[in-house]
Amino acid sequence: MSAPLLETRHVGKRYGAMTALSDLSMTIDTTRPAITAVVGESGSGKTTLARIILGLTPPSEGQVLYRGHDMAGLSGRQKREFRREVQAVFQDPYEVYNPFYRVDHVLTTPVKNFGLASSRAEARTLIEGALRAVGLRPEEILGRFPHQLSGGQRQRIMVARAVLMKPKLIVADEPVSMVDASLRATILGSLRKLTDEMGISIIYITHDLATAYQVSDNILVMYRACVAEAGEVERVVKHPQHPYTQLLISSIPKVSTTRDWLEDEGEQKAAAAPSAIGCRFVERCPVAMAKCATTLPPLYRTEPARAAACFQYEASPELQAGALDEVLVKAHEVV
């Protein structure tokens, strides 16, 4: 068996005294394409994880393996191959464009740099195909300047640019948070198609649990640098096990005539300094036990396709380090 596309082994990231990501091990095996959402509030470590996977930030602990080779010691050729196979889509569809160039520029540049086409005509065919794959009509896009296109169109061009490279993995960091709500569905729909029709795996980083639920197969819920819960999206969202996931889901205001969202605040347990040694959620947790303050709970495999880092599930077997992907399913797999 060949080595998986990417593997993180006990990776962590510290900035001074602050831990941005703590001991995360997972394998991204693209022979089983799927969309995995990484959900968490600001500061939960989700963007740090994305940057480590993209090779933009070196981890302070642990290692990242690309096809079995340590990322820190890749040869020039391997790095180039990595840059083709693993693509990024970022949050801001405005900043990534040079306003003086037509949008074609962001599409022709990678074709040239990576020698993807041997003639102009071939390049054009390739670019048009990528634009169509994300639901854009090439004749409405090519030759335009960025300011002539909407935020949603620009973000889809960014996805098309990633598709052009025939990647195995796209890491999309908040790709729709700056796009109008009415356009989000279209962009996320085109991501879904890439997984279903082209076999591209996607890591979808977001703070929005509802869009994660709509497009993903799996979900990783992060809280203060740690994975709180992971598993098949339907199970996690419908029956959350970790108290933080439960809080997160109950906090989403629903379009319903039942108005139970606003309660009297009571005592708010937000924003206390995170516990240095125990569970990161202990100060806010309604079911905290004595040991939660002193010991960091490991991930327990509570179900075949689910793990939760909470001592309530102590009776379940501990998830072995690096086995996070075992609880993650491939696209359309029924649990």
């Binding site: 909407s150 009415s182 569905a185 869009t211 709509q214 889901i249 629903k254 606003l262």
Partner: protein, 317 residues
């Protein structure tokens, strides 16, 4: 019910090389005392512009070309510059979008509150001021020590609470909150909205909540106005809006919200919001509307009462 704020025939235009652009087009509504009214719509629908127009804070090239706004019977256009300045914050206060950018980064929270009092001619002794600041901060769920901190020392949720504290410091009759929680995560959003709801109850003031999250609207407001291309295309009690939206655009806004009930149900609104300077003829929504017929392409639907207390601008409503 008695209206605390009345907006009648409000029009805002922006001068543009290709002709005037109507950003707010003949909007009328009344806000009842103690009521929570939502204003929803996509970016560019005119909802924030309308909020600014109520406070007469439209800057050139924009201008208010018609309409009346009155607060508790007092016509605002009759006020001079100074009168209007005094009315802002004291009569109608705004909680702006993006709390991180609306606080002065080089002033402690306390000094920003002191500014508000001084500017509105409220003179307090040092001890009374300190006590008032502590009380205001406690009201919005912040510790009194926050008074001596700078904005960068606060989290997003704390900054938004500080903004609410400033907004309520002169006990306004109306608070306009423009997407007050769009930059916050959901757990913090809920706490901040709970604070806003409690503060509103305590003050007995009315709230206009501007935003696009229909879930938030469903849970927070009493009535909802939906804006499209500068017009108020629907206005109804929130329960009616959710169970029986009259305007197809309102329906589309609701469907574009991702649900947690069933996967794969999230739908975008086809097409794009129109450019205000190139509005399609007839109903501005017709190019994106699933129900559009020839009539919609030719005839602009008037805003009419479709049921008691319910208005919509659609030929089929």
């Amino acid at each position: 019910m008695n209206a605390i704020l009345k907006v009648e025939g409000l029009r805002v235009e922006f001068d543009h090389a290709l002709g005037a652009v109507k950003a707010v087009d003949d909007v009328s509504f009344a806000l009842n005392a103690g009521e929570r009214l939502g204003l929803a719509g996509e970016s560019g629908s005119g909802k924030s512009t309308m909020a600014l127009a109520i406070l007469r804070m439209i800057k050139p090239p924009g201008r208010i070309v018609a309409g009346r706004v009155s607060l508790d019977g007092e016509e605002l256009s009759a006020l001079d510059h100074e009168g209007m300045r005094r009315l802002r914050l004291a009569g109608i206060a705004m909680v702006p979008q993006g709390s991180m950018n609306s606080l002065n980064p080089v002033m402690r929270i306390k000094a920003q509150l002191a500014d508000a009092f001084r500017d509105h001619g409220v003179h307090l002794s040092n001890a009374a001021f300190e006590a008032r600041v502590a009380e205001l901060l406690r009201t919005v769920g912040l510790r009194p020590e926050v008074a001596t901190l700078y904005p960068h020392e606060l989290s997003g949720g704390m900054k938004q609470r500080a903004c609410i504290a400033i907004a309520i410091c002169l006990r306004p009759k109306v608070i306009i909150a423009d997407e007050p929680t769009s930059a916050l995560d959901v757990v913090v959003q809920r706490h901040v909205m709970e604070t806003l709801a409690r503060v509103q109850r305590d003050l007995g003031c009315a709230i206009i909540l501007v935003g696009h999250d229909m879930g938030l609207m469903a849970q927070f407001v009493d009535r909802l106005g939906v804006m499209y291309a500068g017009r108020l295309v629907e206005l109804a009690p929130i329960g009616e809006i959710i169970t029986r939206p009259r305007h197809p655009y309102t329906q589309a806004l609701i469907s574009s919200l991702p649900s947690l009930e069933a996967r794969g149900t999230m739908q975008g609104i086809p097409g794009l919001a129109p450019l205000l300077r190139e509005l399609p003829p007839g109903c501005a929504f017709h190019p994106r509307c699933p129900r559009a017929e020839d009539r919609c392409r030719a005839e602009k639907p008037a805003v009419r009462e479709v049921a008691p207390g319910q208005r919509a601008a659609c030929h089929f409503a």
